[in-house]
Amino acid sequence: MDPLIYILDIIVFVGIFAIVALSLNLEYGFAGLGNFGKVAFFLTGAYTYALLSQIGLPFFLCLIIAALISASIGFLISLSALRLREDYLAIVTLTFGEILRLVVKAEHWIAGGVWGITMPSAISWAGASPRMMAAANIGLVYFCLILGFILVQLVSNSPYGRVLRAIREDETAAEALGKDRFKYKAQAFMLGSGLAGLGGGLFAQYLRFIDPYMFLPTVTFSVWIMVIIGGPANNWGALLGATLVELFSRGTRILKDYLLVPIDPNNLQYILFGLLIVFILLYRPQGLLKESQVKTKALEVISRWKKHS
């Protein structure tokens, strides 16, 4: 395989999963919601994109609708699930992901069931080489990533983001302040689901083929590792986490190709991931990067004043 394409491929995947990691960071890091069914919204985005692109909608419309549909499923789930206790929310979202995968697997008429679904190439032009296509994909994915990053960054530094953190820290106190915590949680969940759907759409767009086996609970788990390694409630941490996890997972595969380790790379990867996460939770539960400080005008003035004095 062309090594440059391989590297471009890694860059695309880092970008896609960075978007999903940002979405989980918004839900978990800022609002304290334990969504263990992230893959469900990733799947929704991917299948929406696949079905729409098959009927010939332009790719950007497909992506937007994928995000919107995913967000509305997030909204529907949040109606009942967000009122639940933390552990119940985890169980419900986790199993929801499994049920959704079951549906696309069992219902052949939706998108080919176990056989998966192929879609036309969205980004192609006459004489495009694989390298140029990959580069174009990087452009698209990173355009979306930057938009998504600006969005979550704005949200987390706004008064709104502060309310989310307040809810995460102390529900009763936040409620006493007159903030309807349920409404805010639902909004964060919806926004997070939309972003995950966008990630799913880009995933389908890039691969041009998806099947139910791509949406195993392992996806959710990988995204959790990204957020926890990077440091929850820090958007840069989510980007860092996504990069590290993706590089790590490619690394184990390369290890297999060049070092001939007598262990299946897929097994090795998840054994190491599992050990890593337990290790981090035990010894560095705050992740690599600290929680980002809220940026406000007043705080800026104070810090400038501190510098001068």
Binding site: Y88, T218, D264
Partner: protein
């Protein structure tokens, strides 16, 4: 739908309901054995241990290793499953969950750690025995009792579930540690004030709970096939039983296991008669889980304690 209705009625009239009832109790027995450990550890440690699935998986493979690969015969599989999963459960608590709880880990961190542990075990099993399904060499003889077709494996399972339920009942009501398990689960602070060594009680619970999960996994593996996903495949109904029964409630779990076993088997009959994929069997447990959480988050526990 309209023209299908007579067909559905015809189909339903042909169903051997005695068989459905028997199958339901078989399903219920597996769920009971798998859920008892989950509900007890959940009640004591206050978090859902997603790695319970892999306790089942390991039990099944440990049994397979002794019984088939070493050729020691099926009864040895029980011993292997019980011991291997029990040790794994105790080690998991001592090595991961107890230290995490001591460091003040949040509920979400405990759940993520459980998923992480599950991945380690699952892929470890995948590495040792491979990802392609395997099955026990033992063949089970099937015979008819009246109009119900049974196999000796299923009779063993029912016997094992009854024996387990009886022994657990004695453990929980007649022994000191059993009462401490129940008491600590509902009121840890008072247990401490009564001089209960909570760490030891919890460790014993994890050991016994995981060991039972191993037995459940073994039956599941013997009845169907072994795969690294074995435990994960029945984790959802196990959770449904735990929550419907009320977290920490052994007696609630008994009732819930049979309710869900019945719902699944009757559900499958209806799914088939309407021509819907039986893969949705899992969705039935999910539906019960959701309804319980919304309408009665405490489950049936108040009725059984």
């Amino acid at each position: 739908m309209g023209e299908r209705l007579p067909l559905v009625i015809y189909f339903l009239s042909m169903v051997n309901w005695a068989q459905v009832l028997f199958n339901s109790s078989v399903t219920g027995c597996i769920y009971l054995i798998s859920a008892v450990g989950l509900t007890l550890t959940y009640g004591l440690s206050k978090f859902p241990n997603f790695a319970h699935a892999e306790f089942m998986t390991l039990g099944a493979y440990a049994g397979y290793f002794l019984a088939d690969q070493l050729g020691l015969g099926f009864p040895s599989a029980f011993v292997a499953a019980f011991i291997a999963s029990g040790i794994l459960g105790a080690l998991s608590y001592r090595g991961i969950f107890q230290p995490l709880a001591k460091r003040g880990a949040s509920l979400i961190h405990l759940m993520v750690a459980a998923i992480g542990l599950g991945f380690v075990i699952r892929h470890f099993v995948g590495e040792l025995w491979g990802w392609s399904p395997r099955s026990f060499k033992v063949t089970w003889s099937a015979f008819d009792i009246g109009i119900v077709r049974v196999s000796d494996l299923w009779l063993w399972l029912i016997f094992a579930a009854l024996a387990m339920a009886g022994l657990m009942h004695l453990l929980l009501t007649k022994t000191k540690i059993g009462k401490a398990i129940r008491g600590t689960s509902s009121n840890p602070e008072l247990a401490l004030a009564s001089g209960v060594n909570i760490n030891r009680v919890t460790l014993v619970t994890w050991l016994v709970g995981a060991a039972l999960a191993g037995i459940a996994g073994l039956f599941r593996g013997a009845g169907t096939r072994l795969s690294p996903m074995l435990g994960w495949d029945i984790l959802l109904p196990t959770f449904a039983v735990t929550i419907l029964g009320g977290i920490g409630s052994f007696y609630g779990a008994i009732a819930a296991a049979f309710i869900i076993g019945l719902a699944e088997n009757i559900g499958v009959v209806f799914l088939t008669s309407f021509g819907i994929s039986t893969e949705y069997r899992m969705a039935i447990a999910f539906l019960i889980l959701i309804i319980t959480l919304i309408l009665r988050p405490g489950g049936l526990a108040r009725m059984f304690r």
